[in-house]
C-alpha cells in the first residue's frame, strides 16, 4: 500500500463515519471494524430526533407541560445516541494498531476523531441537562466537523 493510499484509507474511514455527505467506498484491504456503520446510525438518529423535537413546536393541541415532557424524552434519547456515537469513535480508535500507521499518522487520525468525540460528549452532557436550545447548534458544529474532514481528505485524495 502506498503512502497516498494510506492517507486515503484514513480519509475513507472518517468519511464513512459521517452521514452528512456521500460515502465513497473504502479501498480493498481496509479492516472492517463494523463501527463506522454504528457511527453513521447514531448521527442519523440524532438528526431524526432533533427534527422530531422541532416539530413539537407546531403541535397546538398538546399542552405545554406535555410538550416539555416530550422534549425531555427526546433529549434523553439524544443523549443516548450521542453516547453511542462517542463509543463508536472509541472503537474506531481502538482499531488503529491494525492499520499499521506511523506515529504522525496516528496523531492526525486521533485528533480528527477526537474532535468529533469531544463534540459528541458535549452534546451528550447538554442533552442530559435538558438544555434543548443548545443541542441544535452543537449538532451543526458536528456536521461542520464532518464536512471539513471530508473536504480536507478529498482534496488530498485527488
Amino acid at each position: 500500500m502506498t503512502q497516498l493510499n494510506l492517507a486515503l484509507v484514513i480519509g475513507a474511514t472518517l468519511l464513512s463515519a459521517c452521514t452528512a455527505t456521500s460515502q465513497p467506498a473504502a479501498p480493498a484491504g481496509l479492516p472492517d471494524t463494523g463501527q463506522p456503520a454504528l457511527h453513521a446510525v447514531s448521527d442519523a438518529r440524532l438528526r431524526e430526533l432533533m427534527d422530531q423535537m422541532n416539530a413539537l413546536m407546531f403541535e397546538r393541541f398538546m399542552t405545554q407541560p406535555e410538550i416539555d415532557r416530550e422534549r425531555r424524552i427526546h433529549a434523553q434519547k439524544m443523549a443516548d445516541a450521542a453516547e453511542k456515537l462517542g463509543s463508536a469513535i472509541d472503537a474506531i480508535l481502538s482499531r488503529l494498531p491494525a492499520l499499521n500507521l506511523n506515529q504522525d499518522e496516528q496523531l492526525t487520525f486521533r485528533a480528527l476523531a477526537g474532535k468529533l468525540g469531544e463534540q459528541a460528549h458535549a452534546l451528550n452532557a447538554q442533552a442530559k441537562l435538558n438544555h434543548i436550545d443548545n443541542i441544535e447548534p452543537m449538532l451543526d458544529q458536528m456536521t461542520a466537523t464532518c464536512s471539513s474532514c471530508h473536504t480536507l481528505f478529498r482534496k488530498f485524495g485527488n
Binding site: 503512502q3 494510506l6 492517507a7 427534527d51 422530531q52 422541532n54 416539530a55 413546536m57 407546531f58 403541535e59 397546538r60 393541541f61 398538546m62 399542552t63 405545554q64 407541560p65 406535555e66 416539555d68 422534549r71 506511523n102 504522525d104 499518522e105 496523531l107 492526525t108 485528533a111 480528527l112 474532535k115 435538558n130 434543548i132 436550545d133 461542520a144 466537523t145 464536512s147 471539513s148 473536504t151 480536507l152 482534496k155 488530498f156
Partner: protein
C-alpha cells in the same frame, strides 16, 4: 509528498473551523502564521498568569484585613463597611452594594422558554399565539353561529333551512391563546402547573369572551384540574387549521378531573396506565311528548343530576415508531325531572383506539376509532346526545361510532400538509326526528408553511356532509386561510 507532511498539514486543520484547502502552499503559510500566533499566545498566557497571581495576593490581603476589622468591632454592632469608589468617582452606598452582592440573579429555567424565579427552584414561562382565521363557506350556518368560525357539523343547514343561506365570509381571531406554566422539581416528583385561555367563550363572531381551556397542576404521577379528557389521545389529533377538526375524532373535550399516571416498561418499551375520575354531564335528546322542554342551543337537555363521575382508564404504548392508546370509559347517564318522581338512569360505556404512527421521514399517520353507548357527549362537537327520552319519559342510551384517519406529509422542514377523513354515525331510535343528526363525514386538506418555528401560514379546504334522522342531508364546502404567530 510523504505521509508525515500530510499529518503535519492536517493537524492544524483539525483545530480550525471548516475551511477548504486549495493548495499545499497555502497550508504551509497558514501553519507558519499559526506557529507565530501560538508563540504570541504563550507570552500572553505567561503575563496573564502573573497578573492573576498578583490579584490573588491582593485579595488574600484584603480578606485578612476584613477579618481583623470584624474581630475588633463591638459585639452586636455591624462591622464598618468601606464605601467603594468606582472609576467615575461616584460613591456606592453600603446598603445598595450589599443588595447588589446578595440579590439572586434571574437564570434560565429547567424547561424551554422559562426562567427561574429568583430564590426558588421554580421555572416560570408564559406564551401563546395570535391566530387569524379567515373562512369562506359555501353556506352560512344561519345567524351568528359558532359553526361559521370552526366546523360544527350539527349546524350545517339541511333541507328548507338552507334557503336564504348562501356563501359566507368570516374573519376572527378568537382562537388566539395565552398560557402560563411553571415547573418545580421536588422530592415527590416534578410539580407542573398550567393555565391556558383562548377567546372562544361566546358563539357570536364579535364577542371575544375569554375561555378557560386548561387549569391544572400535577405532582409526580398525580394530576388534578381541567385539561383534556383522559379518554382522548391528543397525539392522534390531526394537524388541521380548523380548531374543531375531523368529525370522526373524539371531541376535543377538556373537563375537570383527577388522574393517576403509572409509567412502566414492557419488554423494554415504555408504557403508561392512566386512571381518571372526570366530571359527569348527561346530555339527552327529549321527545317533545315527554313533557321535557328545556333545551340548549343544540337542542339537547342537560338535567345536571349526575351522581357518579365518569370513570376512565387508558393504556399507552410508546414504541420508537409512534404511540398507541386504548381507552375505556364507564358512565352513568341520569335524568330526573324537577317537581316530579320521574327518575331514569343507565350505565353505559365506550372504547377508543387511537395512535400516531411515524412513517417515512417526518411523515406520520394519526387515527382514532371510537365506539360506545355512552359516548355522545365525547363524540363530535355538540352533535349527539348520550341518550334519548321517549314520550313516556323512558331513557335509552344511543350507540355512536366513528373514526378518523389523518396523514401528515412534510414536503420539507418548512412545508407540510395534512389530509384527514372522518366519519361518525349513531343508532338513533325511530322516534328521534327533527333536527337530530344521524351521521356525518368530513374531509380536511391543507398546506401549511412555517418559515420560522414561531410563524405558520396555511390554507385548508374543508368538506362536511351532515345527514339527519329524517334522511335529509346538507353539505358544506369551506376554504380557511389562517396565520399563527407564537410568542
Amino acid at each position: 509528498m510523504n505521509v508525515k507532511k500530510i499529518a503535519l498539514i492536517l493537524l492544524p486543520a483539525l483545530i480550525a473551523t471548516p475551511f477548504s484547502i486549495s493548495a499545499e502552499e497555502d497550508l504551509r503559510t497558514l501553519i507558519k502564521a499559526m506557529s507565530t500566533r501560538m508563540t504570541e499566545l504563550g507570552k500572553q498566557v505567561e503575563q496573564s498568569n502573573k497578573h492573576v497571581a498578583e490579584l490573588e495576593a491582593k485579595l488574600a490581603k484584603l480578606e485578612r484585613e476584613k477579618a481583623q476589622t470584624s474581630a475588633a468591632a463591638p459585639s452586636g454592632q455591624p462591622a464598618p463597611v468601606q464605601t467603594a469608589t468606582i472609576a467615575t468617582g461616584s460613591v456606592v452606598a453600603p446598603a445598595a452594594e450589599a443588595q447588589t452582592k446578595t440579590a439572586p440573579a434571574v437564570t434560565v429555567g429547567d424547561a424551554k422558554g422559562t426562567f427561574k424565579i429568583p430564590g426558588s427552584d421554580t421555572s416560570l414561562g408564559f406564551g401563546g399565539y395570535v391566530k387569524l382565521d379567515a373562512n369562506y363557506s359555501s353556506i352560512g350556518m344561519g345567524g351568528d353561529k359558532l359553526g361559521d368560525q370552526h366546523l360544527v357539523v350539527a349546524q350545517i343547514p339541511v333541507g328548507a333551512n338552507r334557503l336564504g343561506e348562501h356563501s359566507k365570509a368570516t374573519f376572527h381571531a378568537k382562537e388566539s391563546r395565552f398560557w402560563l406554566k411553571s415547573f418545580t422539581p421536588s422530592g415527590w416528583g416534578d410539580i407542573n402547573t398550567f393555565l391556558e385561555l383562548d377567546l372562544l367563550g361566546a358563539a357570536e363572531i364579535s364577542n371575544y369572551t375569554p375561555r378557560l381551556r386548561h387549569a391544572y397542576g400535577s405532582i409526580g404521577n398525580f394530576l388534578a384540574g381541567q385539561t383534556w379528557t383522559t379518554f382522548l389521545n391528543v397525539a392522534a389529533i390531526g394537524d388541521t387549521l380548523d380548531s374543531a377538526g375531523s368529525v370522526g375524532a373524539l371531541v376535543y373535550l377538556r373537563q375537570p378531573q383527577v388522574r393517576w399516571t403509572q409509567p412502566f416498561n414492557l419488554a423494554g418499551t415504555p408504557m403508561e396506565f392512566q386512571a381518571a375520575l372526570e366530571t359527569p354531564k348527561s346530555r339527552l335528546w327529549a321527545d317533545p311528548l315527554s313533557g321535557e322542554t328545556a333545551r340548549d342551543a343544540y337542542g339537547f337537555n342537560n338535567p345536571n343530576d349526575e351522581r357518579y363521575p365518569d370513570f376512565i382508564a387508558r393504556l399507552n404504548y410508546n414504541p420508537e415508531w409512534g404511540s398507541l392508546s386504548l381507552a375505556g370509559m364507564g358512565r352513568q347517564i341520569r335524568y330526573t325531572r324537577q317537581a316530579s318522581v320521574l327518575q331514569q338512569e343507565a350505565w353505559g360505556g365506550a372504547v377508543s383506539l387511537a395512535g400516531k404512527i411515524n412513517t417515512v421521514g417526518m411523515d406520520n399517520l394519526r387515527f382514532m376509532l371510537n365506539y360506545g353507548n355512552a359516548i355522545g357527549r365525547y363524540a363530535t362537537f355538540n352533535t349527539f346526545g348520550d341518550a334519548v327520552l321517549d314520550a313516556n319519559g323512558q331513557l335509552q342510551l344511543v350507540k355512536v361510532y366513528g373514526g378518523t384517519l389523518a396523514y401528515q406529509h412534510w414536503w420539507d422542514k418548512s412545508w407540510r400538509s395534512t389530509l384527514a377523513y372522518g366519519f361518525v354515525s349513531s343508532d338513533q331510535p325511530v322516534f328521534v326526528g327533527g333536527e337530530t343528526t344521524r351521521r356525518a363525514q368530513s374531509v380536511h386538506a391543507n398546506l401549511l408553511w412555517s418559515p420560522l418555528s414561531q410563524a405558520t401560514i396555511g390554507l385548508e379546504y374543508i368538506y362536511a356532509l351532515r345527514e339527519r334522522t329524517d334522511n335529509q342531508s346538507g353539505d358544506l364546502h369551506r376554504v380557511q386561510f389562517s396565520t399563527r404567530f407564537n410568542f
